[in-house]
């Protein structure tokens, strides 16, 4: 139990009366990297957003790092400061330089002095080979570069869990590679990650566990290699054929 960083129990959620998550159970141990796959509309992204309450769960419970996220007394800002969230569309702040995108959250949320925040931000940029962009503005960068900055921004807060919502889906095939390389590097650092993606490469090579979702439920989970090559359910098989095809068409 102690080793469990994230625990989701019977999570239901949706939008405008439409139920998207229909009772999801999920666990993630410290240091574990879990990939979530599923057809669009299966509720993957909603699941991620519920974990930090960017979407309000309807029912069910979520525990993160020993604290109930769904509890009434929870300090949401603390929960969110403990997690890093990477969005499909990067969502950098366009009116701030790249380095400011990283240092401002440290100053504002972690109350770090500016010089210290900037030093840390610069170190993080250097770690990902992004230091040459420090004084550029996000919209002056390519999509791939922006997403790498977004990953660096999530990591500079030193989160206990990194949540990534289709970090490569908005990118052209030739830009996906550089983001994937960054993701592999983050995975190597041993960080706990919950990542929604269709990148089979990443799932096979970097993930500890693969979770397949469909229609608001977890349909199958297990060792990525086994699941991808010998799926047990028909649903999983059909889905894997579909993404294998779409992966081929982009490659």
């Amino acid at each position: 139990m102690n080793n469990l960083l994230l625990k989701v129990e019977g999570l239901k959620a949706g939008y405008d009366g439409l139920e998207v998550l229909r009772g999801v159970d999920l666990g993630l141990s410290r240091g574990e990297k879990v990939v979530v796959m599923g057809p669009s509309g299966s509720g993957k992204s909603t699941l991620l957003k519920c974990i930090v309450r960017l979407v309000e769960p309807w029912s069910g419970r979520i525990f993160l790092d020993g604290e109930e996220v769904t509890g009434r007394e929870v300090d949401l800002r603390k929960v969110r400061a403990k997690t890093g969230f990477v969005f499909q569309q990067y969502n950098l702040f366009p009116h701030m330089t790249v380095i400011k995108n990283l240092s401002l959250p440290l100053e504002v949320v972690k109350r770090m002095p500016r010089s210290e925040a900037e030093r840390r931000a610069m170190n993080m940029l250097k770690a990902f080979g992004l230091e040459e962009f420090a004084d550029k503005y996000p919209l002056q960068l390519s999509g791939g570069q922006q997403q790498r900055v977004a990953i660096a921004r999530a990591l500079v807060m030193d989160p206990v869990l990194l949540l990534l919502d289709e970090p490569t889906s908005a990118l052209d095939p030739e830009l996906r590679r550089e983001v994937l390389d960054t993701l592999f590097e983050v995975a190597r650092q041993g960080r706990s990650m919950l990542i929604v993606t269709h990148e089979l490469d990443f799932a096979e090579a970097a993930a500890d566990r693969l979770v397949l979702m469909d229609d608001g439920l977890v349909v199958e989970e297990g060792d990525p290699w086994e699941l991808l090559h010998t799926p047990k359910s028909d649903r999983a098989r059909r889905f894997l054929v579909k993404i294998a095809r779409s992966a081929q068409s982009v490659a």
Partner: protein, 223 residues
């Protein structure tokens, strides 16, 4: 030719009035912008009935003539025990009126900030206030800048209403000169020209400011 010399001759006298005009319009603009920066987020984020009250305020000030508001504040408020001098009454009326318009400009600008910007800030652990201050406001101001500039120019012109309650600004100075010289055409042409020059300069200055604060790379996305 004589008229031209006459106009040139009265300009220095009118400039004294211009100084008051500029004071009234900039101070009331500032009052308006501060109020608007508070009213707009209240209308969007605050729990009911606050947004309804803000809306009532906006509608009340946009739906009645500025001149009536000015008269109400200057001549009406004293019966409630609030007595203001003409200059303050004028700034208050223009400021409150402009706040209503500016709040709407801000609201529109804030609505144009994508939802994802709020999500990004929240996901990092920003409070609502911090999100507003660091993420929404700086971007909304840039979006709102052209409309705010128009508002400032409108204020310069509307400040001429202050002449009605006896503030000696540009228009009132003109009236004095007409009473003194009986040359209404030349005097009011001179007054109009001074307004025109000030408003043109102001809109140029705002264009400069806009390009100074433009977000690099933004035009690529918009285009």
């Amino acid at each position: 030719m004589e008229s031209l010399f006459f106009v040139l001759g009265i300009v220095p006298g009118l400039v004294n009035g211009l100084w008051v005009t500029l004071q009234i319009s900039t101070v009331s603009f500032a009052l308006g912008i501060v109020l608007a920066a508070i009213l707009a987020p209240l209308r969007i984020f605050a729990p009911e009935p606050i947004p309804l009250i803000v809306r009532g305020y906006v509608e009340a000030f946009r739906g009645t003539p500025l001149l009536v508001q000015l008269l109400l504040i200057y001549f009406g408020l004293p019966s409630l025990g609030v007595k203001l001098d003409a200059y303050s009454a004028c700034i208050l009326a223009l400021g409150l009126n402009s706040a209503a318009y500016q709040a709407e400009i801000f609201r529109g600008a804030m609505k144009s900030i994508p939802e994802t910007q709020f999500l990004a800030a929240e996901s990092l652990g920003f409070s609502q206030g911090q999100t507003y201050r660091y993420v929404v406001l700086p971007q909304a101001l840039r979006v709102a800048a052209p409309a705010l500039a128009n508002e400032l120019i409108t204020l310069v012109k509307e400040s001429s209403l202050a002449s009605v309650i006896g503030v000696v600004e540009l228009t009132r100075r003109g009236e004095y000169l007409v009473a003194y010289t009986f040359r209404a055409l030349e005097v009011y042409v001179a007054v109009a020209l001074i307004y025109l020059v000030v408003c043109t300069l102001a809109s140029q200055a705002v264009k400069q400011l806009e390009s100074m604060f433009k977000i690099p790379g933004y035009e690529k996305v918009v285009a």
